[in-house]
């Protein structure tokens, strides 16, 4: 069984972002970019499944402009066997990403697709659910544990839901999106980074895959959130209780 993992290049999670003065978006020039943290977790899980002998190959897939290749190399250095880069210079919304993934699934025929539960830039939390819907495959979103049963061709997934942890059993092939607690992703070692340079990255375009990119969402503007007014430092618990009682009136 092959596993396909979708990875996204985003602004590094530790960077304090800046909104562009013309309100057209967030400044991405000269900003540190990294693999989306949830994608790292998804890739790690796929690699562990392969290492346990339940999968034969891990294919990393990413979409976007040329620079996305850096993120793909990181994925290859972590241990993905090969990669596909769908080259597209513009903005891709989750629905288009899901359609491209569907086209790739029809070529590669994986038994499992892993994605992160959300990208930390657009915070959409949609792509995995959409690809599952388009393929009519079952979905295990917000996964914190995945156990495959090769004989029964199922995956038992623990999901982080509002009220606690929900356990589902999915027939394969299936789509699983990773939550933070699924695993601790590995670091790529220097030898593996060197090895990754010789691994194959196949380049395709949406046209090659006969996917038409159209968008039904238009960004009107991007603004900074309202700033909170400056707070005060109190010197004692008594002063704090006094402020909460008499100034803020919340206790």
């Amino acid at each position: 069984m092959k596993i396909m993992v979708a990875i996204k290049r985003v602004i590094d999670y530790a960077v304090k972002i800046r909104v562009k003065p013309d309100k057209s978006g967030v400044e991405t020039n000269n900003v540190k970019m990294s693999m989306n943290p949830f994608c790292e977790i998804a890739l790690e899980e796929a690699l562990r499944i392969k290492e346990s002998g339940l999968a034969s190959e891990v294919i990393a897939v990413s979409m976007g402009p040329t620079q996305v290749v850096d993120t793909i190399r990181t994925g290859l250095a972590m241990g993905a066997d090969r990669a596909i880069h769908v080259d597209y210079p513009g903005t891709l919304y989750p629905l288009s990403v899901a359609k491209i993934l569907k086209a790739l699934v029809e070529i590669e025929k994986p038994g499992l697709i892993f994605l992160g539960k959300q990208a930390i830039d657009d915070d959409c939390n949609q792509t995995g659910q959409m690809i599952a819907g388009l393929l009519k495959w079952p979905q295990g979103t917000f996964a914190s544990k995945v156990v495959l049963d090769k004989e029964k061709q199922t995956a038992v997934v623990d999901r982080e839901v509002d009220g606690g942890l929900e356990t589902l059993c999915l027939d394969l092939p299936a789509v699983i999106t990773a939550d933070l607690r699924l695993n601790q992703p590995r670091y790529a070692t220097l030898p593996n980074i060197m090895k990754a340079k010789s691994k194959v990255i196949k380049k395709l375009t949406p046209e090659d895959l006969k996917v038409e990119i159209k968008s039904d969402i238009e960004v009107v503007k991007v603004t900074e959130p309202p700033k909170r007014k400056a707070g005060v430092l109190v010197s004692s618990v008594d002063e704090l209780i006094d402020k909460l009682k008499n100034e803020a009136r919340v206790v």
Partner: protein, 355 residues
């Protein structure tokens, strides 16, 4: 209440005249979650959001499930918010548990009949799981976690962990599909107007339902949750949060004690959850729960971007931390630099009991 009705009319009048030009009529389907025979508070917030899409919006609530609690929930739904005009009930063993595969198909079936202009759910784990799948079946881009509705097709949503607000216009075909942040659409407790007539309850025709090939490919096994008497984290008036500095699950009980005293819900940072002090469903932040209580007290929380994302809309933020340079102090209304192991016992002693 009469006054809130007037306020609503004033607030939405200018919007409705603009809508008239673009849309013939508005009709919204709200996807609702129910538990123990009543509609969840977050789903009622989604109805409130539906209300702010425009005037003369007919709001239908879709419920699915099986057994007697569904009937009870439907009755609750019919009178839980004055703007609900119809309650649609889908009763089948497929819906005993809220699985995405049958739900997405159900939305498809119900939309084919009702031709809604909008489909809305609260952006909890239920809505986030189901709405995008249903949207893909309808070839539509949904809008996640909407915090403001400016027009029937213009929405504001936070991006980059709430460090930017993105205003988007939906330009696609109907329905426009949204998940909404329930803390941004809070419902006045008086909105269950006793004078208003309860909505009609109609069964959804499921005769040709099982045709979808994905239904049945996922099976529910169990839900493990810890029963607690404390208020629900998402809706609590006061939230007390502990971070890594608590050092152990044992010490975290201090936070729980303080929460009990204030009638508050308990929250946690990712570090506290990862360290095993508390279960994951207490995590507040970009990837956990989003809260906007009247009072948020953070103990031993440094204030990472990802945590601030989940609590920045609290009315009053209190931070107690040993490190005077902790970023949490930049958003706190009241900061106290000190050792939480001394501060919490003192607070426990000196704070008044909840009323």
């Amino acid at each position: 209440m009469a006054t809130s009705g007037i306020l609503r009319a004033i607030r939405y009048h200018p919007i409705s005249s603009r809508i008239a030009a673009t849309y013939r009529s508005l009709s919204t389907l709200v996807l609702a979650e129910h538990e123990g025979g009543s509609i969840k508070a977050s789903s009622i917030s989604a109805v409130e959001a539906a209300n702010s899409i425009g005037n003369e919006n007919s709001v239908s609530l879709l419920l699915a499930g099986s057994g007697p609690s569904l009937k009870e929930a439907a009755e609750h739904a019919a009178s839980c918010h004055p703007s609900i005009s119809q309650v649609l009930v889908a009763e089948s063993d497929n819906f005993t548990y809220p699985l995405a595969e049958p739900w997405a198909k159900l939305i498809h079936v119900v939309h084919q009949k009702g031709d809604y202009s909008h489909i809305i759910a609260a952006s909890g784990s239920f809505g986030k799981n189901i709405v995008p799948r249903a949207a893909a079946l309808l070839d539509i881009s949904p809008v996640t976690d909407v915090t403001e509705i400016s027009d029937s097709n213009i929405f504001v949503r936070p991006i980059y962990a709430g460090n930017a607000l993105c205003t988007v216009r939906y330009t696609g075909s109907s329905p426009c599909m949204l998940t909404v942040r329930s803390t941004s659409f809070s419902v006045a407790s008086t909105s269950a107007d006793s004078n208003s007539k309860p909505a009609s309850i109609d069964q959804v025709d499921l005769s040709n339902f099982s045709e979808d090939d994905a239904v049945g490919k996922s099976r529910y096994i169990k839900l493990s949750s810890q029963e607690t008497e404390r208020p629900d984290l998402g809706n609590a008036r006061v939230v007390i949060t502990g971070g890594r500095a608590l050092k152990s699950a044992e010490n975290f009980k201090m936070i729980e004690k303080l929460a009990e005293k204030l009638g508050a819900a308990v929250g946690a940072t990712r570090a506290a959850v990862d360290a095993g002090y508390v279960p994951n469903d207490l995590q507040v932040g970009q990837t956990g729960k989003i809260v906007a209580p009247e009072l948020y007290m953070a103990f031993g929380v440094s204030g990472a971007i990802q945590h601030i994302a989940g609590m920045r809309d609290a009315k009053v933020i209190v931070a107690v931390n040993k490190d005077a340079d902790a970023p949490i102090f930049q958003v706190a209304d009241y900061g106290l630099v000190g050792d939480l192991f001394e501060v919490i016992p003192e607070l426990l002693e000196k704070l008044p009991d909840k009323k």
